[in-house]
Amino acid sequence: MKEKRFWLRTVILAIMLAAIGYTIYSNVFVEKKTIQVGDSAPDFVLTDLNGNKIQLSDYRGKGVFLNFWGTWCKPCEKEMPYINSQYNVYKNEGVEVIAVNAGEAKVTVQTFVDRFQLTFPVVIDQQDQVMNAYNIGPLPATFLIDKEGKIVDIITGMMTEEDVKKYMERIQP
């Protein structure tokens, strides 16, 4: 009787604890529900400003620094030169940058790219398809993708040049 009671209570408490643990974990400690660190990065195809098709899966074997941005977004504007200068260092180490613009007019994007003399491919997500696939909320957002195509980290908010360097090192193959 005493044994039975102990086990009954333990089982009921354990079930409730598991339910609570799962709820809180999935809510607070996992960034987004549809895409998270450890997932393989959803493939996408977009066209860059020179008309070249850029497909993520073609970058297997390299680390990909995937940055989502808009010209109106001040933190994006600040971090872009950092990304550019670190890209010039790490592109020889097998790290590629793809900057996905949030569906702005080509002219607007081109002006911005010229102004900061960006050398990495800049693609425009005209229909929000890639933004949806990566569940992008506020800009900027950066996905670190390793050479196997796995998402290593998701960074929301502005990065310093030091941060950018650190992140590129992490995905260096």
Binding site: R5, S26, G70, W72, E104, T108, Q126, Q129, P138, G157
Partner: protein, 538 residues
């Protein structure tokens, strides 16, 4: 296990206050018995040995449960002092915003998670603990209560009877002949009668006692439903803005569905167009002031073939539909609701290339404001280049033209105008009601010639597989509530001890109703109506 044996012979679990069978007080009790839970042993109070028991006993306390609810209420109240995160401007970082706006209080508000209260871990924990308290409190009370009600005997201990709130003791002549009449009346009033050695227990509405527990089961089911929303795929709640003429992927569908906005319709009640009966009402608010209809005519497409985000999709039409408020487009468990709109967003703007002196026009260009062309050839050596485009123009803190968003709210352009007599081109910065010529006086200008607009519709995308669980939980909740509220558990004991006839009665609520019922039952009989002992003492 320790047990307590009553003098009637029934063996009770330890901690029992009133014997389950005969009702004799087993402990020191007040004059009038506390009949809550039938004086049964609440399990929590009896065992306290292992850590599991200690946790269990903590949550078994109603006091703890009430405190958890109070803390949650206070936290919820604090959460309304400053705006929640969803109401602050989306472009600012919440960490900075709260401190800037509200000082150190705002800083702590943010740090403690009050800015997004329902998603903060400790708030969820509080709700979860209330759930735990609910389960354990209920289990700890319903099991002993069931035992006690199930084990009760007809013949009760004298003390149990005389310590009931409604009680009388008298000598009844001709008890045997008078009793059937009373029993008959009790039966007619829906009491179930049990008889033992000429003693009577009449009982009805016992199921009302389970009401609170049924209610709690409903709450638990509801909480489980709410919890399931966090399981991926169970719950989608997204929103999308879509312009007239646009085809867009529907967010939350993993790229499977696309939507085309054919047209957005906004209608108002107008005086001439409505029936006579509505004229006064329309006059009161003003003609054309009251919305009549918000409607988006859409076409739903399904993407065929493999899905690669960003690729030009191959689409198959699924259906056409007119989405109106409360009339969502439903397909594949998804529902698209009309939630918002924006009238007359700029679509394109036209300009004449004009000689400033003579006002002569050399052609017109139309600039699409979503995807403008880079060059517009007007023939005869006249052409216009678009150097820069700012859809939502403002001067930033460095004095440079910039854009606030990608929405064409306030478009501005940097044009380069070429003419046979200006082969190198002239640069003009053109915004609404504003022209700047950065490199001196130009011969030509871009004169505004008109604009095209279109409406934008906002839709909410929903998919909810938890709704039926919430529905079942809510229904069980209501059943439990009704069960406990609209029925009373009433008992009447009639017992002969030596020459005296003892009558006692108990109800879990509505004592007034019970007294009225007893009056009707004992009217015109030799029995003495039980007296409310609470009245007698005061």
């Amino acid at each position: 296990m320790e047990q307590v044996k009553c003098e009637c012979g029934h063996v009770n679990p330890i901690g029992t206050v009133l014997c389950e069978a005969c009702g004799k007080p087993l402990e020191e009790v007040p004059m009038l018995l506390d009949m809550r839970y039938e004086g049964s042993a609440r399990r929590s109070q009896t065992y306290n040995q292992t850590i599991v028991d200690k946790i269990w006993n903590f949550f078994s306390s109603v006091k703890v449960g009430v405190w958890l609810i109070v803390i949650t209420l206070v936290a919820s109240a604090i959460g309304t002092i400053y705006p929640q995160q969803m109401y602050i401007p989306p472009t600012v970082s919440p960490a900075e915003y709260y401190e800037e706006q509200y000082g150190w209080l705002g800083k702590w508000y943010y740090a403690l998670g009050f800015h997004d209260l329902y998603s903060s871990w400790w708030y969820m924990l509080l709700i979860a603990l209330i759930g735990v308290s609910l389960v354990i409190c209920s289990l700890d009370r319903v099991v002993p209560l069931y035992r006690a009600l199930n084990n009760q005997r007809v013949t009760r201990n004298e003390q149990f009877l005389q310590r009931q709130r409604l009680f009388s003791r008298s000598q009844v002549k001709d008890y045997e002949n008078a009793l059937p009449r009373v029993v008959d009346r009790l039966t007619k009033r829906g009491y179930r009668i049990r008889e033992e050695n000429g003693n009577i227990l009449a009982e009805k509405g016992r199921f009302s006692r389970w009401g609170p527990y049924v209610n709690h089961i409903g709450l638990i089911v509801f909480l489980i439903g709410a919890m399931l929303r966090f399981v991926p795929g169970m719950y989608v709640d997204e929103s999308m803005w879509i312009r007239e003429g646009e085809i867009k992927e529907i967010p939350g569908t993993n790229g499977k569905y696309f939507l085309e906005n054919k047209t957005f319709i906004f209608e108002v009640y107008e005086k001439e167009k409505e029936k006579e009966a509505f004229q006064a009402a329309i006059d009161r608010v003003g003609s054309g002031m009251m919305a009549k209809n918000y409607q988006t005519d859409v076409v739903l497409y399904e993407r065929v073939g493999s899905i690669v985000a960003g690729e030009e999709p191959k689409l198959k039409e699924v259906k056409s539909f007119s989405i109106r408020v409360n009339e969502p487009l439903k397909h594949d468990h998804y529902a698209l609701y009309q939630v918002d709109f924006k009238l007359n967003e700029l679509k394109s703007m036209s300009f004449h290339l004009t000689d400033k002196q003579t006002d002569k026009s050399f052609g017109t260009i139309t600039v699409d404001l979503i995807q403008p062309e880079k060059e517009y050839d007007l023939g005869n050596g006249y052409k216009v280049q678009l150097l820069s485009y700012f859809p939502d123009f403002y001067f930033d803190e460095n004095g440079n033209p910039n854009t606030r968003s990608k929405v064409p709210n306030n478009p501005a352009f940097v044009f380069k105008m070429f003419a046979p007599d200006r082969p190198k081109g002239e640069v003009s910065f053109t915004a609404i009601r504003q022209t700047i010529e950065p490199f001196g006086d130009n011969k030509y200008k871009m004169a505004f010639a008109g604009a095209d607009t279109r409406h934008v519709s906002a839709l909410t995308v929903r998919r909810d597989f938890t709704l039926w669980i919430l529905g079942i939980g809510g229904t069980i909740f209501m059943i439990g509530l009704i069960q406990g509220m609209y029925w009373n558990h009433r008992r009447v004991w009639i017992q002969r001890i030596n020459e005296d006839v003892l009558i006692a009665a108990h109800t879990n609520k509505n004592w007034f109703g019970l007294k009225k019922e007893l009056e009707r039952i004992f009217n015109d009989t030799p029995f003495v109506m039980p007296i409310d002992q609470l009245d007698k003492r005061s």
